[in-house]
């Protein structure tokens, strides 16, 4: 009885099995032939380079992703140092794979926001209620008095793939622990406020202002703007004044007593430290002398 059932089951099942097997083998043969005929030779070095890359696909190198960069760097070895998140370590590894020797590159670059004005430090002529991006807010004149400072809608925050930027009280703030130096934020900022600075020290001295307004105008618009007074440039030639704005020469930059004095003597406190363990800037409006006495 059971045997008959099993036999019946077998009788109805075997054509299905044979068909499946036939189809399977048929496709296997077609795919096998195709894989032989349509073989694409790939240089194993591309795979090796791809493995040592950080695989973040951030686009800092100028290619769409790590895969494309690996391919490009094999053909054009001069592109070796382009991987910002990987830094010197990755460059060394790639050079090893390609049997090349590279000279040590300079310190890795990190973004610096040239503004230190939080919402309460800035002057606003009106309230912006349009599309909540810096690019559109920037297109509308005379909402924020300062034409150069941080707009604070976070275009850089959304450009950052590493969650290293945040808006703190209307000011873009970099978390240097998370930052890989890919430079996406500096491209995203419609006011070109973020520049890539070679961090030769852990904390770098930065002129946290971008205002080219005259001293009087800058002071009327912002509590912590650079007024171009030139006190810092009198201390040391690392600082210079151009277009009413103090600038730091990072080629020469070394932390010395003079730079410290320049920072403390700055009347608006616009020279600050930025970096992983940077001390907090002088509170807005605090007198320069008081700060220098305290330190």
């Amino acid at each position: 009885m059971i045997l008959a059932d099993i036999l019946q089951l077998w009788n109805s099942a075997w054509p299905a099995g044979v068909t499946m097997l036939g189809l399977g083998v048929g496709f296997a043969v077609v795919l096998l032939i195709a894989s032989e005929k349509l073989k694409v030779e790939v240089d194993p070095k591309i795979e090796q380079i791809h493995e040592v890359l950080p695989n973040l696909d951030c686009g800092a190198c100028g290619f769409a992703g790590c895969g494309q960069y690996a391919k490009a760097v094999l053909e054009r070895p001069e592109l070796i140092g382009k991987c910002a998140p990987g830094g010197a370590e990755t460059a060394d590894k790639i050079a090893n794979i390609l049997n090349l020797q590279i000279s040590k590159s300079g310190p890795s670059k990190r973004p610096v926001v040239h503004c230190r004005a939080h919402s309460e430090d800035k002057t606003y002529y009106g309230e912006y209620q349009g599309i909540q991006t810096c690019t559109s807010a920037n297109a509308l004149a005379n909402v924020q008095a300062c034409k150069f400072g941080c707009v604070g809608f976070g275009d850089c925050v959304s450009a950052c793939k590493f969650d290293a930027l945040s808006i703190v009280d209307g000011l873009a703030t970099v978390d240097y622990d998370k930052c890989t130096g890919c430079g996406a934020c500096s491209k995203a900022c419609p006011r070109n406020l973020i520049s890539m600075v070679p961090f030769s020290q852990e904390n770098m001295m930065v002129v946290a202002c971008n205002s080219k307004e005259s001293g009087k105008a800058a002071r009327s618009m912002c509590k912590v703007g650079c007024i171009g007074c030139g006190i810092c440039s009198k201390q040391t030639d690392i600082f210079s004044i151009r277009d009413n704005l103090a600038r730091v020469d990072y080629e020469k930059y070394q932390p010395t007593e003079q730079t410290e004095t320049a920072m403390n003597k700055c009347p608006t406190g616009v020279i600050v430290y930025r970096g992983k363990t940077a001390p907090p800037p002088r509170p807005a409006g605090q007198k320069a002398v008081a700060a220098s006495q305290k330190s």
């Binding site: 299905a16 068909t19 499946m20 189809l23 399977g24 077609v30 795919l31 349509l38």
Partner: protein, 197 residues
């Protein structure tokens, strides 16, 4: 003339009225997953159109030449169709990689993902369910299904691109507003129901 009429009606029906995404709720995962940007959505739509036309034709042939001729074999339809789709996708992938490397790069991960796109298996089974009699009609229906999918995913991507700029309430941001949009879109397309047949 009569055949042409049938083909045209079938095409319009599968694109607008019986759209796989809007009325059958098939292929929802790529529909929601890859509809972030319009160019990617269009790429996905083109890849699906290509594969669905190929596999719809192949499965119709296999169905009519093998499975329907031997009694009792209909039950293996699902397995056979999945086999055909997977094989077709693999073949397409190899072919593209060899002859159109740039297209292959731009499709990227989408191509292997299509293997598990239920809209394609659904279409192959629907062609059988609707008892499509001749090969030409099957080809047109498969192609139309692909076009319908492309249209759906592109509309969705267009809406979502604009949604990025809208001031959405915080609790609805991300997945919820996407699902609400998908629902409204489906409702809109329900208006076509009953236009043909």
């Amino acid at each position: 003339m009569d055949t042409l009429n049938t083909l045209l009606m079938g095409f319009i029906s599968i694109v607008l009225i019986n759209n796989l995404v809007f009325t059958k709720f098939l292929g929802i995962c790529p529909y929601l997953g890859v509809s972030g940007r319009i160019d990617m959505a269009f790429g996905m739509g083109m890849a699906v159109t290509f594969v669905v036309t190929l596999s719809g034709t192949l499965t119709w042939l296999i169905d009519h030449l093998i499975l329907m001729t031997i009694p009792g074999l209909e039950v293996t339809r699902y397995v056979c169709f999945i086999l055909v789709i997977a094989g077709a996708v693999q073949l397409v992938e190899m072919y593209l990689r060899k002859f159109f490397p740039s297209l292959y790069e731009s499709f990227g991960i989408f191509l292997p993902l299509i293997t598990t796109n239920c809209a394609i298996l659904g279409l192959c089974l629907f062609i059988n369910l609707w008892e499509v009699g001749n090969l030409l009609e099957a080809v047109v229906l498969s192609f139309g299904a692909g076009i319908g999918f492309t249209m759906a995913i592109c509309i969705m991507a267009g809406i979502r691109e604009n949604l990025n700029l809208a001031d959405v309430p915080k609790s609805l941001r991300g997945a919820p507003i996407t699902l609400i949009t998908a629902g409204l879109l489906t409702l809109a397309f329900m208006g076509f129901a009953g236009m043909i047949k």
